[in-house]
């Protein structure tokens, strides 16, 4: 018991590999499998054919049966390893299957039909990472369009959020004015009220403004986040007032002070808010689902969900489109993971 606590509590500093270190590595290794395994399984599965996808028990790699052009047949025929009665194994191509019997031909002698019991044949397979599912999927899943909508929403909403929130945070942090405390209190009070709580009335407002099926209806309502304002305000409070006073003496306008003194000094906090905003907007689902009903306006998440609803059983296509959807954010994370994790860790979103 005490050794468990020792390993749970000890901080860094000892060098030799202790039993507790081994447990730590074991835990980490297991976590990698549990956290990353499912994603890897999805990616591997997305290359499987529709026949391979429904196969049980599932196999790790995307196998595909080999086909062969045989003289006298228009379509390529699937190849099988067949165990003949004398025990020898030959490679035959199947013409058709009738009940428990497969009608096969020898590719070198396509005239003669050989009848084989289906238990005596094994498909000839090889591992193929084919993009067929992706090609077929984008015919009904308008990936390019959804991606465009998602990027437009994420980028404009993040820029708007940064500008609008930093302006408000600047006012709340660096000015004394009537109503400041009231505004701040309302923001804290609504900090945890999500859009889902006011779903019906916001939809009414959007309808009256005429933003149904308009990306603006997705972008604008969430742009004034109390979380963002409070995060930026806390950071701006640490910027010394003397800098502002000095700039004023030099004749700088308030806008210059905001844009050329405060903003450059608030970069770390702005970066964290940008990361959060991108995460919120890219993954947002409920609000776009309510505002957007025409499929050409769908974001990736709404599109993917309706795609899985339409094609309930066509797993090979759903898997491929899921991979396409998780690809952009994965690439971004691969490049920026250090900045993202340390950024969030230092601010902790309080």
């Amino acid at each position: 018991m005490s050794s468990i606590w020792e390993f749970l509590t000890r901080t860094r500093g000892k060098n030799k590999l202790h039993v507790t270190d081994m447990i730590t590595y074991l835990y980490m290794g297991l976590s990698v499998i549990i956290l990353f395994g499912p994603v890897l399984w999805l990616v591997l599965s997305s290359f499987k054919t529709s026949a391979e996808v429904v196969k049980f028990p599932p196999r790790l790699l995307p196998y595909r049966q080999e086909n062969m052009e045989v003289e006298g047949y228009e379509e390529p025929l699937p190849l099988y390893n067949v165990t003949l009665e004398d025990g020898s194994v030959v490679q035959l191509a199947q013409v058709r299957r009738i009940g428990l019997e497969g009608q096969m031909v020898d590719p070198s002698n396509p005239e003669e039909i050989i009848k084989v019991h289906i238990d005596d044949r094994e498909p000839v397979e090889k591992v193929v990472f084919s993009l067929d599912n992706f090609r077929e999927g984008v015919e009904s899943f308008n990936f390019a369009r959804y991606l465009r909508n998602s990027v437009v929403v994420t980028v404009t909403a993040t820029i708007l959020t940064l500008i609008v929130n930093s302006m408000a945070a600047f006012a709340l942090a660096k000015y004394e004015f009537k109503g400041r405390n009231a505004i701040f209190l309302i923001m804290i009070g609504t900090l945890m009220i999500p859009l889902s709580v006011v779903l019906v009335p916001v939809f009414l407002v959007i309808t009256n403004v005429g933003w149904n099926n308009n990306l603006l209806g997705v972008i604008i309502p969430g742009a004034a986040t109390p979380t963002g304002v409070i995060l930026l305000r806390q950071y701006m409070l640490t910027i010394p007032d003397e800098l502002i006073a000095a700039a004023r003496i030099d004749g700088a306008s308030e806008w210059r002070i905001y844009s050329q003194v405060i903003i450059p000094l608030s970069r770390p906090a702005l970066a964290v808010l940008a990361i959060f905003s991108v995460m919120w907007r890219w993954n947002d689902f409920l609000w776009p689902l309510v505002v957007l009903s025409r499929s050409e306006m769908f974001t990736l998440q709404v599109g993917l969900n309706s795609f899985q609803g339409e094609l309930n059983v066509q797993w090979h296509l759903i898997l491929a489109m899921t991979v396409l959807t998780l690809l952009p954010i994965t690439i971004v994370f691969a490049f920026l993971q250090r900045n993202i994790t340390t950024g969030i860790a230092t601010t902790g979103m309080k």
């Binding site: 923001m187 945890m192 994370f333 902790g348």
Partner: protein, 341 residues
């Protein structure tokens, strides 16, 4: 030679973009300065803070505060009309309908039984999900705080699912847990029968909890890790010299100093758990039956997807949920005040 000239090419491309960007942003700042300078001459220095908060307040007022007030209008009126002026005032009937139960612990005796099922589902989900997630996040953070190789890599691995959208997470797990999925393949490989993970009510509830822990824990692990790293290491050295054992060090130093971060994690995860929606919507759709129907989906269903739209019920249910969230927020603020005092 080539690398050198290539470097120069890249540098000039880079500086071209940098110059372009900075002159663009300078241009924007300058032109905005004309607008804001004019405004400042009109309203004066004392008026400027109002100008700065205005855009935020406009959006906030129109899309958050005003709808919140409107929500009361919906909650106290009935009918299927969408526009508030066409809806007849019915007082508290919606709330009465929601809260009409002979026995509050048995949804079957309630007039709006689905609402109560959603309430109970949400409550059990919140308790188990938050409990499990906070414990696992804490253990993970403690282990990540040790001196191990590849810490940055492991930290990223834990955080990666947080970035995945709930829809993607739901589909990944639906694929693994479906009848002919990977997990059933492993189970039958060991000689057991297939388990209908998504068809059985208890299993479906279980997996919703596990998957949401899988998807969200990385975020809370990061916050706790930051809290742990803020604890000065000389405290542990001092405790070591004083002969404290590891358990005493954990109980006497780590736990009390980590408490503020733990409370943040607890409250944030509570508040988020109450609002669970998209993950489950794509994963089970609320089923089987109403086994994984949670509050937000009830609200969404009443307002947007059921054939007879009952905006009044949706609004009153959302007001009740908002009440719970406000209480949770206040509790959190109280805790923080105490921490600071």
């Amino acid at each position: 030679m080539t690398t050198h000239s290539q470097k120069n090419v890249w540098r000039s491309v880079g500086s071209f973009f940098n110059n372009g960007l900075s002159s663009l942003s300078n241009f924007t700042i300058d032109s905005m300065d004309v607008v804001f300078g004019a405004l400042q001459r009109v309203v004066g220095l004392r008026g400027m803070p109002y100008i700065f908060v205005l855009p935020n307040l406009l959006i906030f007022g129109i899309f958050i505060v005003f709808p919140m007030l409107l929500n009361f209008g919906y909650a106290f009126t009935s009918g299927i009309e969408f526009y508030p002026d066409q809806r007849p005032w019915t007082g508290t009937t919606n709330f009465e309908q929601l809260l009409d139960c002979t026995n509050y612990f048995d949804p079957n005796t309630c007039r709006e039984d689905i609402f109560w099922r959603a309430v109970f589902n949400t409550a059990t989900y919140v308790i188990f999900q938050v409990g499990i997630m906070v414990v696992i996040s804490l253990i993970t953070a403690l282990l990540l705080n040790r001196k191990i190789r590849g810490r940055g890599f492991f930290r990223s691995i834990f955080f990666y699912p947080v970035l995945l959208s709930p829809i993607v997470v739901a589909l990944i797990w639906k694929w693994i847990l479906q009848e002919n999925g990977l997990l059933n393949g492993i189970i039958t490989g060991f000689g057991y029968d297939k388990i209908p993970f998504l068809v059985d009510a208890t299993w479906a509830r279980f997996w919703v909890i596990i998957i949401s822990v899988w998807a969200f824990m990385g975020f809370y692990t990061l916050i706790l890790l930051a809290g742990l790293q803020a604890i000065p290491s000389d405290l542990y050295e001092a405790a070591d010299i004083d002969g404290a054992n590891a358990w005493q060090a954990f109980y006497g130093i780590t736990l009390p100093l980590l408490m503020p971060s733990l409370i943040v994690v607890l409250m944030l995860s509570l508040i988020r758990a109450v609002q669970i929606f998209d993950l489950v919507f794509a994963f089970t759709g609320g089923g089987p039956g109403t086994a994984t129907l949670y509050l937000v989906q009830y609200i969404y269903g009443k307002g947007f997807s059921s054939p007879s739209k009952q905006f009044g019920l949706a609004a009153s249910a959302s007001l009740l949920m908002a009440g719970v969230l406000v209480v949770l927020t206040l509790v959190q603020l109280l805790f923080r005040k105490e921490e600071k005092a």
